[in-house]
Amino acid sequence: MRRSAIILGIVCGLAAPFARGLHADDAPAAADSAAAETAAAADFRQRLEPLAAKFCLECHSGAEPMGELDLKGLFERLSVATDREPWDKIAQRLRAKEMPPDEAPQLSDDQRQQLLSWVDTGLARNNCGQERDPGRVTIRRLNRNEYNNTVRDLLGVDFHPADDFPSDDVGYGFDNIGDVLAMPPILLEKYLSAAQKITERALGTEQANLVTSEVTGGQIIDEGWHFLASPTEVRTKVRMFGSGHYIVRAQAYGEPAGDEPPKLEFYLDTQLVRTVEVHATKDRPQTYEAWITTKGGQHSVSVVYKNDFYNADASPPQDRNVAVRELELMGPYPATYQQLIPREHTPEDQKLLAREIVAGFMQRAFRRPVAAAEVDRMMRLTELAESEGEPLGGQIALAMQAVLVSPHFLFRVELDPAASDPGGVRTLNDYELASRLSYFLWSTMPDAELFELARLNKLHEPAELDGQVKRMLADAKSQALVENFAGQWLQLRNLKIAAPDKQVYPDFDEALREAMQTETELFFAAIMREDRSVLDFIDADFTFVNERLARHYGLPDVKGKEFRRVSLDGNHRGGVLAQASVLTVTSNPTRTSPVKRGKWVLDNLLGTPPPPPPADVPPLEEAGVMLTGALRERMEQHRAKPVCASCHKSMDPLGFGLENYDGIGSWREADGKFPIDPSGTLPSGQTFASPRELKAILKERRDEFVRCLAERMLTYGLGRGVEYSDRCTVDDIAKAVAQNEHKFSSLILAVVHSDAFQKRSGKGSKP
């Protein structure tokens, strides 16, 4: 149990005691630390080295030590400062009881503890110099939200194809963790079918949209050609099904004469849409096309020949003519077709255009420059489609489908430092940085501005980076940070599956559920957009309500469905702990759960999660306890058992302090016949008599809160668990936030400026 507590602690909060130790240690002179080092070394030699020699050295020494860990050398140097990483690993392995392995002689618990505490103390003493281990993020598959948003920004189609994908598993509290995001066959299958749906949405489907009609005009000569020997037109009447973009295609050839080629003008009804010069000749006629945009209904589409030329005096006489056939209409195409295939093309440049489009698309989809060879390979697919008779749109669609299923699109790839240097660290290039930024703040691909800065290699410049972060936070796309970060940090997402009992809470309905969620999202967004202090999360003098929620809160004079900002002076609300969303997701269906609420505060605000309950809690009746009285009294009886007391005394008071809020967050003074007693004493000795006083205490403990929030934000921003070795980075971030009036932007900026965010180590790239 002790061990689990430590492991859990690593996730959010273990660092707290270290950090306190560290801050206290900032002052002492170097001499003290050197003395401590010497004492520790002596202690190790005398007490622990024989232990380690007995249990570890047989495998971890010699020419080829197991796991490439040579303890002999490590023990000779005995410098945690220079050998931080292997010592860290030793601590992890010992803690997880992975070492010694099962088949080897085992350390006793006491021996294990002695070794661990020596290593941990050494690690703590050698904390946080100049260097930071940036850690290493496992390549991250786009999760469902990222996929939806990326497809939206890449192709301009916003239909949430990933909503049909299996849910992404959560690790470290978030669903964007590279290590946890798996790629089972069902998902690849969904990617493949989504790719097809996406390109159909973006480019339309050719077969379905063919519109044909009888063509008239000119003089019909052989093989269906309409010959235009004087200014005249070829026309067709069509009934267009639906508004949108259509392509008109006409095959044509010219008979040139005079000083310019024959020209054809494409008209929709009376409106000129495009003029083309016809260079094709009779032996090699070509297809010319023009885009038209129109509403559905009856229209006429015509191709007009105007620049006729005849010079009878010349010898032989000069006569400029043109011939047209197969006036063809395709459509309607979605608006995105024109964005993705941006210009009309002639048969000569179709291949070139296809290549240009595919290369541009790959570059944006892979979020980096692409090599010519990569594009060459991709063109094999457009050629395949062409050989099947697909027009340009179909050829591009097939290449796009391959892009959308490619690992370069589905994963955010960052290559490790040189393979020869697994311990090396490299700074991410600007394209990689652009992706880290955009997926962090927007849950989507970089936009044109970020790409341009990456191309110019300017994005990493600190001033530029600051400016971009501020721009991105102000952009509407940062709503993704609200939904995805806040939704998971505050566990708002669980509100969807909360099931308050209709008997106990007849007042609860879907409108209220929705309003609860909106309040907290707007509240988070306000702190983010107005760059307020993050301490507002604990307590604030404003929130957002509509009529439904105001009624729930007992706030007067709010009418209608729209949310508005309200001042909270002198009432029971303020901060996330007083918001119905959080209060509901931390309750049972039929009653409040002070334990869940207390645990929620410890987990998500203070970063000091309680150890999990022991595996073998005996049922209460065996303990001879009969529970009677108010919930609070019953729980206190429960807590009387020593095995439970140590943890519950840190959780329960926090929850009791919120008992004035019922299981769906309404204010109450009594629970049935029992009056509410919201007072409590924390293990620190701090006491409170109301939720307001409890929040005041939490605000005093701001350093713990900021550290916890920093760890969460770093976890989310990196897409990996924040490990023991990241505690210096977390220190840096917490310090920066405290020095900047706790402004929200300072939190984001500190994460973005950290080595963990901007660099990549090769650690772990080898087994």
Partner: protein, 450 residues
């Protein structure tokens, strides 16, 4: 099919008792494969044996789950009463344990371990995510072996999405309490929870004629293309990243196989079934739809291996429609409270009612002289015995179906305490032509099925 060397599986299993010698199975393999390939169209040929694992969370009220009497003379206790119509077609098995559901030094987290060990028999590594590891699950062992014969190697169904936020169980990644099926020791098989999507995936034929041929050609080319991409990329990556690309590559291969197999028609004509329109509000309707799809998939031989997680482990779903407003998980920590016992019993029985619906359905589908149920092995149970004690021994287990006439049903089989659940799996694997010598913590094959 009357060549002398074509021994029926039944003969072998009966002849050798439960200790089935591997060489015999290998001799049988080609014959079985051939038979399976051609099965269905000809009623005289044996139909393949199917295998499904159905999971329900938070343990059971065991006093009303375990039959009092042993053997064939047992009576169905309250929770199992709904199974009356199929009592002769199933076996209640008592005494099985899944040791790796226990802490074994890892502290709290019984729910995460219960689900992740249930089909693997392995100890989940305690991690929030950095290095997820448990083991290959029994269904995937079979899928690897016999999955090549059907369009879908295996089918994973469920009713609950994975957790959307927060920590699922005491330091374990949510992967462990959400996924029952593990393709590799670190790659869970995500489950489909939307009956509409599951239906489309299983039965949708999409385009037809030339368009279909062209689409398949395109898909094949796209997959070939990305396979090459992935191989190139993998060569440049570190080990952990390579592992992710391994998952990708293995999935590409699975899809390529599917395109190849998709050409074959389902071997049995399927009844008309209306396409579901999404996840029903009504949980009971949701469960029934998923069971329907599972039955159809088996009937059409689209797959022979499936898992169905009726609710995620540790689920706190409430069941107001049967008068239980409290969360299931909250209730399962009943602390001996008789009122809570009563409610847990009702939830348990509710789940069994739908199992009965499924089993009766399989029983009503005939395959030659037998029913689909006869040709199946449906294992139903939970990785926790009593929700309050969080014990992982004496698990509530029902095995329905006769495994192609290789299992003697209609009994309450009481085993010695601490018999590894994985021993049962070894015996089940034998019956789907996927014998292995060991799986997880198995100590041998289970005696007493025949």
């Amino acid at each position: 099919m009357s060549k002398p060397w074509q021994i029926s599986r039944r003969t072998v299993l009966r002849g050798l008792g439960t200790v089935v010698a591997l060489p015999f199975l290998e001799v049988m393999e080609p014959a079985i494969a051939l038979a399976a390939e051609a099965a269905g169209n000809d009623p005289k040929k044996p139909s393949p044996t199917r295998m499904a694992f159905v999971y329900v969370p938070n343990g059971k009220h065991m006093q009303d789950f375990t039959p009092k009497a042993e053997g064939a003379e047992f009576e169905l206790p309250y929770i199992l009463e709904p199974l009356a119509q199929v009592k002769d077609n199933l076996m209640v098995i008592s005494g099985l344990a899944q040791d790796h559901g226990r802490a074994n030094g890892d502290g709290a987290g019984d729910h995460a371990r219960a689900l992740s060990s249930f089909l693997t028999g392995q100890q989940a590594r305690k991690t929030h995510g950095a290095d997820i590891k448990v083991g290959v699950s029994v269904d995937q062992v079979a899928a690897r072996k016999i999955g090549q014969r059907t369009r879908f190697s295996s089918l994973e169904l469920g009713c609950d999405r994975g957790a959307q936020a927060g920590n699922c169980d005491s330091g374990y990644s949510c992967s462990y309490s959400t996924n029952i099926s593990w393709r590799t020791e670190s790659t869970p098989q995500a489950k489909e929870i939307d009956p509409k999507l599951a239906f489309e995936r299983l039965f949708s034929t999409g385009a037809a004629g030339d368009a279909k041929t062209r689409r398949e050609k395109y898909n094949k080319s796209v997959l070939d293309f990305v396979l090459e991409d992935a191989r190139d990329l993998q060569a440049k990556l570190g080990v952990k990243d390579q592992r992710k690309l391994d998952e990708y590559l293995s999935s590409v291969r699975e899809l390529e196989k599917r395109i190849t197999v998709a050409g074959r028609e389902p071997i049995a004509p399927l009844p008309e079934y209306p396409a579901p329109s999404g996840i029903p509000e009504d949980y009971a309707a949701h469960i029934r739809l998923m069971y329907d799809l599972l039955a159809l998939a088996f009937q059409g031989d689209l797959t022979r291996v499936a898992t169905f997680v009726v609710a995620n482990e540790g689920s706190n779903r409430s069941y107001p429609f049967i008068g239980v407003a409290d969360g299931h998980h909250d209730l399962s920590h009943h602390g001996g409270d008789p009122k809570k016992h009563e409610k847990i019993r009702e939830i348990n029985r509710f789940h069994v009612t739908h199992l009965a619906y499924f089993l009766e359905k399989l029983k009503g589908i005939s395959e030659g002289e037998r029913s689909l149920l006869d040709n199946s092995m449906i294992l139903y149970g939970s990785g926790i015995g009593d929700g309050n004690a969080h014990n992982h021994d004496n698990l509530p287990i029902v095995l329905a179906g006769r495994g192609g006439d290789t299992i003697r049903t209609g009994r309450h089989l009481k085993l010695n305490k601490e018999t590894p659940l994985n021993n049962l799996y070894l015996s089940m694997l034998d019956r789907v032509d996927s014998p292995v010598e060991a799986l997880g913590d198995s100590t041998g094959r289970l005696e007493g099925l025949v």
